[in-house]
Symmetry: C2
Subunit: 401 residues, 2 copies
């Protein structure tokens, strides 16, 4: 008997038919003699509908109240899934984030899980019940409801699996696993049987949209085996684990991220500490910086360019505008028409020539590179958003054909 | 400085415009130097939409999961109201039932408030914040979300007001106060300035739909002054308190209740205890019986007729069908086409002739009376549902013209 945590995203529970489908997967796992904890996101459009209601009333609502509002979304989906499981006839109980003991920081709309108080979860499992937990949400030490920000339900699932010492954490999505590129865009994209945490981490960070990086980091830390698979087919998915089978190919995937904006701060006086102060103010506002590029400008000034996720652009603008007087920059340019395309592969550490092959493929496709960032196992380029799909296709041809 | 609890029903917060209107009423009260706790129901159609989602998946879902689902409704409305108040610029915090310390029994979908743990509420009020509380919901000692059943938000508001020793509890509705009859139906209906708890209690019990009886009972017990008033006009409402001003008229109102069904159990053997057993089984299923009539039948049998609210009819049928073998009744008739019409007034205790005047008015209007029930301050009759509006009009003419 294994303890398995299964996570289903919003599209997997978008309507009654899909909820029933998920109930079938969950109860099949349960009937095989496993203990099952299920983490669910809000139904398909619920979050958008709730945000629409908010915008109509107060676009600048506090983050605390935005969390209160959005957390209702998963409350609806856990209750509906529990009802569908009741119909099949298996014992089940739904739990909100706070009931499942998901304790987080107080950083509303972007909270981090501090620990899981597993007492109630264990009690429900001891009673042989399937436990449905609301993903994406938790509670602070002060008893306030928080949400975890993008990809939060993945993190909920992995954190619960780690807290409960689960044997496996299955992340159900609308694709069959991790691919060498987005299979909806690249028809030759190949599904991987296995991938290492580090490779998955780079893909997640790079907007491959399969798994959120925080969840992969956590799984790596606790050496928890993840499986990414589809809720719509019964095909085996991709296993994410420490010692992944070395695939014959040298790069494991190509990722695209269009949820990104570039900020260029032009003509900053070359005084020590100015950039540091700006970035620490951004960090204080919970803005995560991605690629940073600093270049020497003219007349003793320098230019600083960096990228943030689009949903942080408003916060970023606010911080920069407040900081402008001390920054003494000549101008600031905000550009949302950008995309990041990356190649990822553990093979890069020991082999050379990846960068030049990548740049050549992009050059042949007539795509202009704006910024470059590299790590041991990935190379990312910033390009125009409209070039992104063509870039992924060109790179897939270059590396996998 | 007073502590005022204000309650707004679902229609008062049905859309963004109405939410803003409620925010204005609340902040006006706050700006006059009062401490304000606000209790809100789910937005207009939210509850119906959630029930529709449930019915599509599992019409026989457990009561626990139905509570989990429905409680999301108030979560949405409290967050939106808090956001509207933030926009006006007053400090505010929204609290779910469990955060506000509303502890209930475990009787899901029809829980009763056991006590209010006011610690967090008091802390928020000490911080000078307007506190928005989700009505209709609470939490059991086991940490499960419950709902309070019909009229639950009124009860939440009164219970919070009692727990906090509030000076006044204002119940905002879509009418301007308590009327001698439904003002939407009877154009000569008069608004009362004051009414006693007992009179209000009879009106509430009788389906006047202004205040739920549990909330009035609670207010009476703690001698809490209630005001029933409209969220759409600024007119003064009706005060409900112990020593109400004696109005010149002898009856204070006429009430109609069409949310009622009659069950007739025909030909029960005249054995002791059979009726008692049936009613105790109904009580165990949380079915409240209203009028009971027992009559001697033929051949040593008797007939028992009683009424329940329509939403309890399914539960009632189930209990009766299970109990049929032991009941040995000849047949059972379920009739939903009934209405209860009542006259209420403290004056009845000391004056006679009300019953004959009532029956005369109904006779003149050619309305047949099926059952009669009386108390010290009210007389109720059961009639055909289609006669109800005509009956109220006839009684209003008879008593108030």
């Amino acid at each position: 008997m294994s303890l398995i945590v299964q996570k289903f995203g919003g599209s997997s529970v978008a309507n009654a038919e899909r909820v029933n489908n998920v109930a079938r997967i969950v109860t099949d796992t349960y009937k095989k003699g496993n203990k099952v904890v299920v983490v669910v996101s809000a139904q398909g459009d619920t979050t958008d509908e709730l945000i629409e209601k908010q915008m109509e009333i107060n676009p600048n609502a506090s983050k605390r109240e935005r969390d209160m509002l959005l957390a209702a979304g998963e409350q609806i989906s856990i209750a509906l899934l529990a009802m569908a499981i009741e119909k099949i006839g298996c014992p089940v109980v739904s739990l909100l984030g706070w009931q499942a003991g998901v304790r987080t920081t107080s950083s509303h709309t972007n909270a981090r899980i501090k620990f899981i108080d597993c007492e109630r979860l264990k009690r429900e499992l001891d009673h042989n019940r399937i436990v449905i937990v609301a993903g994406f949400q938790g509670i602070t030490r002060y008893g306030d409801v928080t949400t975890l920000g993008r990809g939060g339900s993945d993190t909920s699932a992995v954190a619960l699996a780690c807290g409960l010492h689960a044997d496996l954490c299955q992340i159900y999505t609308d694709v069959e696993g991790v691919y060498t590129a987005d299979p909806r865009k690249i028809k030759d994209a190949r599904k991987l049987d296995e991938i290492s945490y580090d490779e998955m981490l780079e893909l997640a960070t790079l907007g491959a949209q399969v798994l959120h990086n925080r969840s992969v980091e956590l799984a790596k830390k606790y050496n928890l085996e993840l499986e990414v698979l589809s809720s719509l087919t019964s095909a085996p998915g991709t296993i994410v684990k420490e010692a992944a089978k070395v695939e014959s190919m040298l790069i494991s995937g190509i990722a695209k991220d269009t949820d990104i904006a570039r900020i260029s701060v032009i003509g900053v006086p070359d005084e020590p500490g100015l950039a540091f102060k700006m970035f620490s103010k951004l960090a204080a506002s919970d803005v995560n910086i991605d690629i940073i590029l600093q270049s020497v400008g003219r007349d003793g000034t320098k230019d600083i360019a960096f990228t943030v996720s689009k949903d942080k652009l408003a916060d970023t603008k606010k911080v920069i505008e407040n900081f402008m007087p001390s920054l003494k920059a000549q101008k600031v340019i905000f550009d949302e028409d950008v995309a990041k395309v990356s190649i990822v592969g553990a093979g890069m550490e020991s082999h050379s020539g990846f960068a030049s092959k990548m740049f050549e493929a992009l050059y042949n496709a007539d795509i202009n590179i704006q910024m470059i960032s590299t790590s041991e196992i990935k190379i990312s380029v910033l390009i125009k958003a409209s070039d992104a799909d063509r870039a992924v296709a060109a790179l897939h041809r270059g590396f996998f054909d």
